[in-house]
């Protein structure tokens, strides 16, 4: 396993980095990834798309064209690197910031905008895609991933589950219970913590007195690993290894991807209230996209023209998604009452009728007051 930079102090868990902020990597470590130049370019393309989507979504929210939105700026490598290691039969349990993970798994940008635009249709995962819906209550999805992976094991299937959560989630009881169950039953699940250093305003040091989050795995009886979350190669490698181990019956792994949220928690937040600009600037120097571009350029795999072309394509792809999102048809109020149960009970039928009558009294919509 590659360990270009290990922590200065003695650590209970390994820290993995392959691609440094300067775009330099040990060639042997890169060979070990088993990736080809077209994979490098695909990783880069997804990261650029993620950032393009993120910038556009933020702008739409500021213009009142999207609801509250949780940006991923700075966390592109953690998300793209981990999702690139997944197989279609694996299950993904996201929190609310993993936009590009969902897209890489086959959900459309339009669907993501639909969700953040306040339309439940954004949660209708297309048939055949084993993504679960965005989970807003912190850490609760960790148990679902453990359960889904457990079911796969009981059914004798070779699929795994991966669950995404943040550093704040590790303080919740469901984090403990999810890891504990997974350890006891040795289920094929990967716990992927994006430690972006803040839970809204509260720093990582206020979540735990542990040196690392990864070492918490040791208490549950399985392996924990810390990875440079801004290094897409290292993230891919540790996730792939964890998934392979899970598939072979080796049980769960906790991955702590050390990264940084370069912007607000959501559009309703203001990061300047709780952290110095110098800290944010320092992390910008470790930008995950820049370092992969440097690597590609050094390898002669990327040119100015390639960059310009990709930026144009990404902008066009997202612009098309925005156009489709904004052209979505007006919804039927029955959507509020549908899908509560397999069959609609009498009280919902009655309440739906009540709402329909009220709207009919005002020409089919709410009264204008």
């Amino acid at each position: 396993m590659a360990t270009k930079a290990t922590l200065q102090r003695e650590s209970l868990v390994p820290f993995i980095q392959i691609l440094g902020p300067d775009g330099m990597a040990n060639p042997n470590d890169v060979v070990e990834l088993g990736l080809k130049p077209h994979d490098f370019k695909a990783l880069y393309r997804w990261m650029v798309l993620a950032r393009t989507f993120d910038e556009r979504a933020l702008a739409l929210q500021r213009q009142g064209r999207l609801g509250t939105y949780a940006p991923l700026l700075g966390q592109e490598a953690a998300q793209v690197g981990s999702a690139y290691a997944l197989k279609p039969e694996d299950w993904v349990f996201p929190s609310y910031r993993e936009h590009v993970v969902l897209a890489m798994r086959g959900q459309s940008w339009v669907q993501l905008l639909t969700y953040w635009g306040g339309n439940e249709e954004g949660n209708r995962i297309p048939e055949g895609i084993r993504n679960f819906m965005i989970s807003v209550p912190i850490a609760t999805q960790i148990l679902h991933a453990t359960g889904a992976a457990w079911a796969a094991k009981l059914k004798g299937e070779k699929s795994c589950a991966i669950v995404y959560f943040g550093d704040g989630a590790t303080s919740e009881g469901d984090f403990h219970e999810g890891l504990n169950f997974a350890g006891v039953f040795k289920v094929p699940v990967v716990f992927f913590c994006q430690n972006n250093q803040y839970a809204i305003s509260v720093p990582r040091t206020r979540q735990t007195a542990s040196e690392t989050i990864a070492q918490k795995a040791l208490a549950y009886g399985f392996e924990g690993v810390q990875v440079d979350g801004n290094d897409v190669f290292a993230v891919y490698k540790v996730t792939k290894d964890a998934l392979e181990k899970a598939r072979e019956g080796g049980g769960p792994t906790l991955i702590e991807a050390v990264t940084y949220r370069l912007t607000h928690h959501t559009t309703a937040d203001d990061w300047t209230r709780y952290r110095p600009a110098e800290e944010v600037e320092m992390w910008k120097q470790k930008d995950p996209i820049k370092r992969l571009r440097l690597y590609l350029e050094k390898q002669g795999l990327w040119s100015e023209q390639d960059e310009a072309k990709l930026v144009e394509e990404a902008k066009a792809e997202i612009a098309q998604a925005v156009a489709q999102y904004e052209a979505l048809p007006k919804r039927d109020i029955e959507d509020i009452f549908q899908y509560m149960y397999a069959e609609m009970p009498w009280n919902l039928k009655e309440q739906l009728q009540e709402l329909k009558e009220y709207l009919a009294e005002h020409g089919g919509d709410l009264p204008k007051e």
């Binding site: 148990l143 679902h144 889904a148 079911a151 219970e177 504990n180 169950f181 509560m340 009970p345």
Partner: protein, 323 residues
Amino acid sequence: MPQMTLIQAINDALKTEMRRDPTVIVMGEDVGVNGGVFRATEGLYQEFGPDRAIDTPLAESGIVGTAIGMALNGLKPVAEIQFDGFLPPAFDQIVSHAARIRWRSRGRYHVPIVIRVPYGGGIRALEHHSEAPEAYYVHTPGLKVVIPSNPYDAKGLLIAAIRDPDPVIFFEPKRLYRAFRQEVPEGDYIVPIGKASVVREGTDVTVISWGAMVRICLQAIEQLEGVSVELIDLRTLAPLDIETILSSVAKTGRAVIVQEAPRTCSLASELTALITERLLLQLQAPVVRVTGYDTHIPYLTMEQYYLPDAGRVRKGIEKVLSF
């Protein structure tokens, strides 16, 4: 036909469904090797093995949360929460997820889980072992809530709950677990969810109850002379069988609701509202509620003062008749 207690009927329902459907599993604290602290899962570990009668770590949110994940991936978990008083740690998973997943996913996912919970007072138990929390779950959209009052219904309702495509909270009145036996058919039958039962027909007053209180009501009715009481056992608390309730109260013009839960914002409150909203002009008297008090259920030395007994039910019936 075999005579069974309510707990034996529960056990028989689990065995029947586990034999019929290999995706059904039971999970919870002490449900495997030990067969459950009330013996509801007796023999399942021996017959179906540790992968289908699963002893879990002691963590209620973990039990329900992982059951949800299992259900998403094709299993039908029947999760046991050992006592009513230990259901609160699972509240978040039930309310924020189990109840919402069909709706949030627009039908892509649903959660066919059953959460079995020994329920209610009257067994001289420790504190946190005698709660009646149905109102929280009846109030929560997306759940079904079921509570049997006898062995026959217990088996048929539990089989129906396991086959139901939506999450079901299945309360079991522990006071009735071994209180009496009843003929229970072998093999496979269901009692449909959403259907109340008219335990006794009458014309003067309707008594509406569920769980262990149904027996208390019967006792009270048998003690009353010259009054024709119709007794309804709701059996399913969500969704309510509104037709059975309203047609009875429309006939009698009087309603008494008997529950062991605290009164304020309870199911009795909702039933009172439904009856008065729809039948005000047919009512001969205000609806009467006979309930637990708005305190915590006392420990074993005083719980009998809290739980409605036949005398309080008689008094409620007399009150609604004498208005």
